[in-house]
Structures are given as C-alpha cells and as structure tokens.
C-alpha cells in the first residue's frame, strides 16, 4: 500500500528503443527522444509536486487518502480489489476488474459531471495558477463523498423510498448550482494544471475523473457483457458460428455481427505490438474490453483505432475501468465518429478544412495547388486522436486537455497548432509527395509537447466548442448528401446507454412516435434501474445506495439530455432536409464567388504588375533615346574635330612645303649672293682702282644681307 499521493516519477527506462511509457521510439528519433527525456523528467517532477499541492489543498489530506484506500467501499463486490494506486507502466491488472479512483479526485469528477455548460468556464480559464486560494471544501459534493460522514449519510438514506429519488436529485442539483460559483476559481486552477500535464502516476485516475467513468458505471453490466462473450468464444472455438452469423445477445437483445469480432481479433496483435504490458493477459483484457464495447453500443460496434484507445487505457487502469472510460470517451466525446458512416468525423474534417483555410490561407492554397486535401492528412490524426501520429508524450498531453474539456475541440486546436508549428516547412514542398512526407516526419518528431499544448490552448483559445458546433451544422447536409443511398442495415438501438444519433438513422421516426418510444425507454430504464437497486440492496451494504442514487440521478440527467438531443436532432434533420438543396446551392455559389474573388485579386495583381513593367519599359526607352542622341552629338563633334585636324594637317604640310621651298630659294639666293660676292671680290681689285672706294661695294653687300633677313622675317611671320 503506497503512503504517498504521488510516487516519484519513474526514471528513464533501461530499454533503449522504448520510451518511458513502454512504447517504441522510432530508431531515427531516438537521439531526439533522449534530448527530450530529460526535459520530460523535469516537467514530470514539477507537475507532480504541483498536483500534490493542488490535491492536498482542495481534495483531502494525505492521511485521508491513505485511509480511503484502506476502506475501499467496493470490496464487497467480490472482485479481488486491490488498492487503486497506480504503478506507472505496470500494465493491465490481471485480477481486479474495477477500482475506484482515489477520493481526492472524486470532487473533480462530480464537478465536471454536473455542469453540462462547463464549456463556458473551461474556455475562459486563464493560465494563472498563482494564488487562487478558494475556500476549502469547494468540491461540489465533497461533503457527501467525505469518508468520515459517509456511513451516517448512507444510513440516513437507507430509508428513502424509491419515489423520492426524483426529489433528491432535484435537491442535489440546486446545491450544485449554488456551489458553481465557488468552484470557478478552483476549476481555473485545475485547467491550468491540466494544460501543463497530468502526472503519469495520476493520469489513469484523473482521466477517469474527467470522463466520469465512475458515475457511468452500472454494477454487473460489464460482467454480464463478458459472460456472453465467453459463450461466443466457446462457439467460436468449436466453429459453431458461421462468419456471417450474428450473435444474439440473450441479455440485452442486441446482436453483434461476426465481422466485428473477426476484426477485433485481427487488431489485437496489431495494437502497440511488442509493448511489454500487452502480454497474454493484457491482450485478453484488450479483447474483452473491445468486445464488451461492441456489445454495449451496437450502433458503433468496433472501428479500428478503438483498439489503440482501449490499449492505452488498459496500460493505466484495470479492465473494467478501462471499459467504462472507453464508453465515456466514445459515447460522449466522439458520438457519431466511429459509426458505420462516420458522419461526425467527416463533418469535423470539413470544419477543420475551413479553419485551416481561415488561419493559414497561404498553406491552404499551397496544398490546393499540390492537389492535396487537408483531410487526407488530418483524417488519421482525428481518427486515432493523434496516437501513433505524435510522439507519446505529446499524445498524452493532448488527451489530458481533451478529456478534461468534455468535448473534442482540442482535436482542432492541436491540428491547428501543428500547422502553425510546421506549416511553413510544408510551403517549400514542390509536390504532393514532398509535402505529405515532410509533414509526416515533422509531426512524428513533435517532441516538444509543452510547446504544442501551449500553442494549441493559448494560441487557439478562442476556438470554442460552440463555434465548432455552428460550423458543423453548416456541413451536415454536404456529408449526408455524400453518403451512399441505401445503407446495408440499421443497427438496433440495443443498449440503454447507446448513443442515439439521429444522423445515423435512415428512417427518422415522426415526433409523436418518437415521444412514445422515449417514454418507453425511460420506463424500461427505470425498471432496469430499480431492479438493479433492489438486487444490490439485498446483496450489498447500504453504502451501495449512495452510489446507486448518484447513478440514477446521473443517468436521468443523461437520459433526459439524450432525449432532448434526439428531439432536437430530429427537428434539425427535418429543417436540414428542407434547406438542403438551398444550402448546397448557396455553398456552391459561395465557393464559386470565393474562387472568382481570388481570381480577380490575382488578375488585378497581374495587371498592376503589367502596368509597372510598362512604366519601367517607357522609362528605359527614354533613357535609351537620350543616350542615343548624346552618342550622335558626340559622333558629330568627333567628325568635325577629325576634319579640322585633317585640314590643319594639310595646312601644316603646305606650309612645310612652302617653308622648304623658301628655304631652298634662300639657299639659292645665298649661294647666288656668295657667287656674286666672289664675283664681286674677283672683280673688285679691277674696279677698285677704278672707283677708288670700297664704299660702293659695302652697300651692295649689305643689301644682300638685308634681303635675306627680310625673307626670313617674312617666312616666320607667315
């Protein structure tokens, strides 16, 4: 018997290729996983202490918890009931079929169960955890659950006759309303805790508290389903059943097609293959749970992916707990999802496609261009609630929030968060193959679970379930129109808790008829319940009564809600049918106009581009022209200059020529002068005595000098 609320978080496992939960890590992610394992461990330690604080502040003291386990009031059931302490990855319980969750968590369950309008508070919750210290005892019906009071409380109740049950439930609901406000702060704190993750050691029980498997449980129901199972097996073994046979359920008058059993048997070894906890006993438990569910809700039967859910739950809780938790998840959160026609799932995919288009227009149009539909990628995400898609730590963190919120809006937020984190990488993909492969590998390596959950919960906080509901109504006609006309057969509404989805109904009953049917249903249920109670009264101690009263009340609430839903759905179906053609037309028109708009925008863009280009061209042309002109001018100038140069050159030549000639003539003159002088000199002695003076000769000489000087000066001046 453990003495602590939370055992210390388990350490990283020895086995190399398995993670802390015992699941296989893909070989190429091992390195990455190792990096994150340390972070996970630290986060786990932190959240463990925070949860412990929270539970001891608002739940019960540690001592009481321990005491609770000692006096588990279902010991009388005959099941070998161990304490409810969880042991991490220890695997499915082999012997006990049901364990109550620890009492400190029961207020959570009660609180979540009793506020159908919880979406209003869980959405507005702020991440602040700080010092919201609500008055103790804010848990809704904590008083009634309190161990110390319990026996007296039940003893008092023992005398209450059956017909006062109604009264009682009314009282309780008024109490519930009063305490609603008190518990608001308490819930905000819880929501913040949930977003940062539920500790491994607590997860199984906390999930049960979230989905309310305890209040859903009907004593003996699971065992009854199991008894029938065993008969089936025997028949099976002896080959008494044809494959196409339908096994008739003697107890509830329901039938299960053999194909589900076959499919389940096929999928058992394909559920977390090699997981240490899924040994022979583990697989047997898995088989039991899945068959029991198919039998319990024949509207759904068995759909692949449930094997993963059941397998996961069995790793965290005993068999019967896993069954009721699975029932709660499938019937409350995923109603209409895993049925033959999967209407809700298909609608959700269309809604998601719209959301992706709204939040990531570029990515959306890129995928369009690659010929990819968002649903091809996200379909498996939603169907398997991210199991085998994201790394396990991330899967569990997403489940924490999803189960807490009482609806499946977390699916959408997670998907959008994934696109936010990895969408930009997809934008670079050149073709469809690249895009899908890239996204697959990125998603499977989203080890940063805190980042993912934070992005989902804070980044898309405004994405509320009510908004999703609105969007869904828009797409019902489209999906219903695509369904194959004649369905093979209508599954009977066998079990009393079966989810009745009007969308699945091929032949809607008219309202009057419906009413009668509903009344019958209520009567039957009451009869069944009173029978149940009577039987338990005989068998068990008074303690059972409080449980039964709670259950009666819960089931009444649930029944009335279901019936209300059904009526609403009926009306809606009619309306939808009437408006169907119109909507489809509108839808087409809307799509077309949207397309036209985008095309127009594109055209405008192109036009703008063209004009810009034109302008640029014009400018370029002008520049070119100007340059050409300049070129011409310079060329002309060059020509002129060249001509000038040529002229000057000829003039120089001429001058040179003239100069030469003149120099020649000067030389000639000089030589002549010399000759003349020599002549003169020669003749001088003869003439001199005659003339007697040299003076006459002198001037003639000087004239020769002068004439040559004159010629020089003339030539230079020229």
């Amino acid at each position: 018997m453990a003495s602590l609320v939370l055992p210390t978080p388990p350490t990283i496992p020895q086995e190399l290729n398995r993670d802390i939960y015992g699941f296989c890590v893909r070989p190429h992610h091992l390195q990455l996983y190792k990096q994150f394992a340390e972070i996970y461990r630290e986060e786990e330690i932190e959240r463990s202490s925070r949860w412990e604080e929270f539970l001891s502040a608002h739940g019960k003291s540690l001592e009481n918890v321990c005491k609770d386990y000692g006096s588990s009031h279902h010991l009388s059931e005959g099941a070998k009931n161990h304490n409810g302490e969880k042991e991490g990855i220890e695997g499915p319980r082999k012997f006990e079929t049901w364990c109550n969750i620890r009492t400190s968590l029961q207020p959570i369950e009660t609180a979540l169960r009793h506020f159908p309008e919880k979406s209003s508070w869980n959405q507005t919750a702020t991440p602040s955890i700080a010092s919201t210290e609500p008055s103790s005892n804010t848990g809704v019906s904590q008083g009634s659950e309190d161990d110390s009071d319990e026996e007296f409380y039940d003893a008092d109740r023992l005398d209450i006759p059956q017909d006062e049950l109604q009264n009682l439930s009314d009282n309780t609901s008024s109490v519930v309303v009063q305490s609603e406000e008190n518990s608001l702060a308490w819930k905000e704190e819880l929501y913040a805790l949930v977003r940062s993750g539920v500790p491994m050691a607590l997860r199984g029980e906390v999930w049960q508290a979230f989905v309310g498997s305890g209040s859903r449980r009907v004593h003996g129901h699971y065992q009854a389903l199991m008894t029938v199972n065993r008969d089936d097996w025997n028949n099976d073994r002896h080959g008494l059943c044809n494959p196409n046979d339908v096994i008739v359920d003697q107890i509830f008058g329901t039938s299960i097609p053999k194909k589900w059993v076959k499919q389940i048997e096929k999928d058992i070894p394909r559920t977390f293959p090699g997981h240490p906890a899924l040994d022979v006993n583990g697989r047997k438990a898995l088989l039991n749970v899945l068959i029991a569910y198919a039998r319990h809700n024949p509207n759904v039967g068995y759909c692949q992916a449930m094997n993963f859910f059941a397998g996961l739950l069995l790793l965290m809780m005993p068999e019967e707990n896993a069954f009721w938790t699975l029932v709660s998840i499938l019937d409350d959160y995923f109603e209409g999802y895993y049925t033959e026609k999967m209407v809700e799932f298909q609608v959700d995919q269309l809604v998601l496609e719209e959301l992706v288009h709204h939040h990531f227009p570029r990515l959306s149009s890129h995928l369009d261009a690659l010929g990819l539909q968002v649903a091809w990628i996200t379909g498996p995400w939603f169907l398997s609630i991210f199991i085998n898609i994201l790394p396990w730590e991330s899967v569990l963190r997403v489940w924490d929030v999803l189960l807490y919120e009482q609806n499946r809006s977390m699916l959408f937020r997670t998907a959008l968060a994934i696109f936010e984190l990895h969408g930009s990488a997809v934008l670079i993909a050149k073709d469809a193959a690249d895009a899908v492969t890239l996204l697959q590998s990125l998603v499977s390596a989203t080890f940063d679970s805190s980042q993912l959950v934070l992005t989902a919960c804070v980044g898309y906080q405004s994405l509320k379930d009510s908004h999703l509901q609105e969007l869904r109504t828009k797409y019902y006609p489209q999906v219903l129109a695509m369904l194959p006309k004649a369905s093979k057969q209508q599954k009977p509404f066998g079990s009393f808790t079966s989810s009745m989805k009007i969308m699945e109904c091929d032949h809607p009953v008219d309202v009057e008829h419906q009413g009668k049917y509903d009344d019958e249903l209520i009567n039957n249920n009451q009869a069944y319940l009173s029978h149940d109670i009577a039987a338990d009264e005989v068998l068990d101690t008074p303690i059972m009564l409080s449980d039964l009263l709670c259950q009666v009340q819960d089931m009444k609430l649930e029944l009335s809600r279901t019936l209300e839903k059904r009526r609403m759905a009926n009306m809606r179906a009619e309306e939808l049918e009437a408006a169907f053609m119109e909507v489809v037309k509108m839808d087409n028109r809307r799509l077309l106009s949207a397309k036209v708009e985008t095309l127009e925008a594109e055209a405008a863009d192109l036009r703008r581009n063209v004009t810009e280009k034109d302008e640029q061209n014009q400018a370029m042309k002008q520049v070119m022209l100007r340059m050409e002109e300049e070129l011409k001018v310079t060329q002309e100038a060059r020509m002129v200059a060249e001509e000038d140069a040529a002229k000057q050159r000829t003039a120089v030549d001429e001058l040179q020529f003239k100069f030469d000639r003149i120099m020649n003539s000067i030389k000639e003159l000089e030589s002549r002068a010399v000759k003349a002088e020599s002549l003169l000199e020669a003749s001088y002695p003869q003439h001199a005595p005659k003339n007697g003076t040299t003076g006459t000769k002198q001037p003639s000489y000087s004239t020769g000098e002068e004439s040559s000087r004159w010629i020089w000066s003339w030539s230079t001046s020229k």
Binding site: P273, G274, C303, Q304, M342, Q373, P380, A432, T437
Partner: protein
C-alpha cells in the same frame, strides 16, 4: 506541357484488413519486414523513387485501412490515382472474394476517365505461410479472375520473404506510366493507335 517536373505516380493499395498491405509497402519502400505492424487508421503514405526503363519516377503509395467503414472516407484521395493495387491473402478466401468489391468501389469513387483500361494489379500475398500448405486460393483461380477483369497483371508475393515484391511494384510503375503516356498521346490526335497498343501490352510479361 512546358516544364516536365519529376514524374509522380499515385498508387493506391486496397484490400481487406490484415492481408498485408502495410507490410508490402514497407517491404518495397524500406526493405524491411516486421511482424509488429500496427493497424492502419484512415490512410498512410510513403514515397519511393524507381527507375522505369530510362525514366526516374516517384511512386507515391497510399496505404489504406482495410476496415469496411473507412471506405466512405476514401472518396477523395482515390481520385487522380495512376494505378490501383488490390491485395488479398492467399490463405483467406474471403479476402479474395472481396477483390471485386474493392475494384468496383475504387472505380466508382476514383471515377477514372477510362475505367476499362485503368491499370489495376492483383497481389496474392502471404504465400510463405505454412510453406503454401494453408493456402485456399489457387494461382489458377486468381489468374482466371484477373483475366475476366480485363487481364489484370497478377503476382504472388510474400512481404515476409521479399518474394516478388520489387518485381510487382516495378510492373505497377511501368503500367501506371504507360497509362499516363497513353493518355498524353491520346489527347492531341485521334488515331486509334492507343487502344490497340494498350490491348496488346496489358499482360505484363514477368
């Protein structure tokens, strides 16, 4: 066509749950076999580059979930497929009998332009089991069925022993590619060359 990017062939694998679709795909793409496959939910997807004659093509293989109710979800992504691979388990009669359903379903939902000549391929898987002693569908019977559906090429495979897997997928790629080029030729000029050629070459010699 102005620029020819890399050729993408879209291949869809159909067949009953548990006949070995995922195993075949993994054997072909990753050259690995494991007894520990998880059930496929919705659809899974792998790609592989293959050399067909002198062309490098990328096969984009869509592995589908076998459970009946997932069929209604397949509508969209069957479209644009270049080849459809039908898989059955030679040891399970029902999986063989379902082939017609799978084929019809595919043709209805994918609505190819020329359903008569759309390239299918049938693989009889798990021939390794029990040395073939537990098989209930004979090769002859399977081939007869294939012949009746317009000479669908048929291979007996074992994903576990890697028997015929590569050969089969090569043939798939070849046929898918041929179909693609046939269509391209067919579009511009209307000579009935194409119908003649597809008819003679539809039996893949292997």
């Amino acid at each position: 066509m102005a620029t020819r990017k890399r050729t993408l062939l879209k291949v869809i694998i159909l067949g009953d749950s548990g006949v070995g679709k995922t195993s075949l795909m993994n054997q072909f793409v990753n050259k690995k076999f494991s007894n520990q496959y998880k059930a496929t939910i919705g659809a899974d997807f792998l790609t592989k580059e293959v050399q067909v004659e002198d062309r490098l093509v990328t096969m984009q293989i869509w592995d589908t979930a076998g459970q009946e109710r997932f069929q209604s979800l397949g509508v969209a992504f069957y479209r644009g497929a270049d080849c459809c691979v039908l898989v059955y388990d030679v040891n399970l009669l029902k999986s063989f009998e379902s082939l017609s359903n799978w084929r019809d379903e595919f043709l209805v939902q994918a609505s190819p332009s020329d359903p008569e000549n759309f390239p299918f391929m049938v693989l009889g898987n798990k021939v390794d089991i029990d040395g073939g002693n537990s098989r209930v569908v004979s090769e002859k019977r399977a081939k007869t069925w294939c012949a009746s559906k317009g000479d669908i090429p048929y291979f007996e495979t074992s994903a576990k022993d890697d028997l015929n897997v590569d050969v089969a997928f090569q043939c798939i790629a070849k046929n898918a590619l041929k179909n693609e080029t046939d269509e391209e030729i067919y579009l511009p000029d209307t000579i009935d060359f194409s119908s003649g050629s597809t008819h003679t070459s539809s039996s893949c010699s292997c």
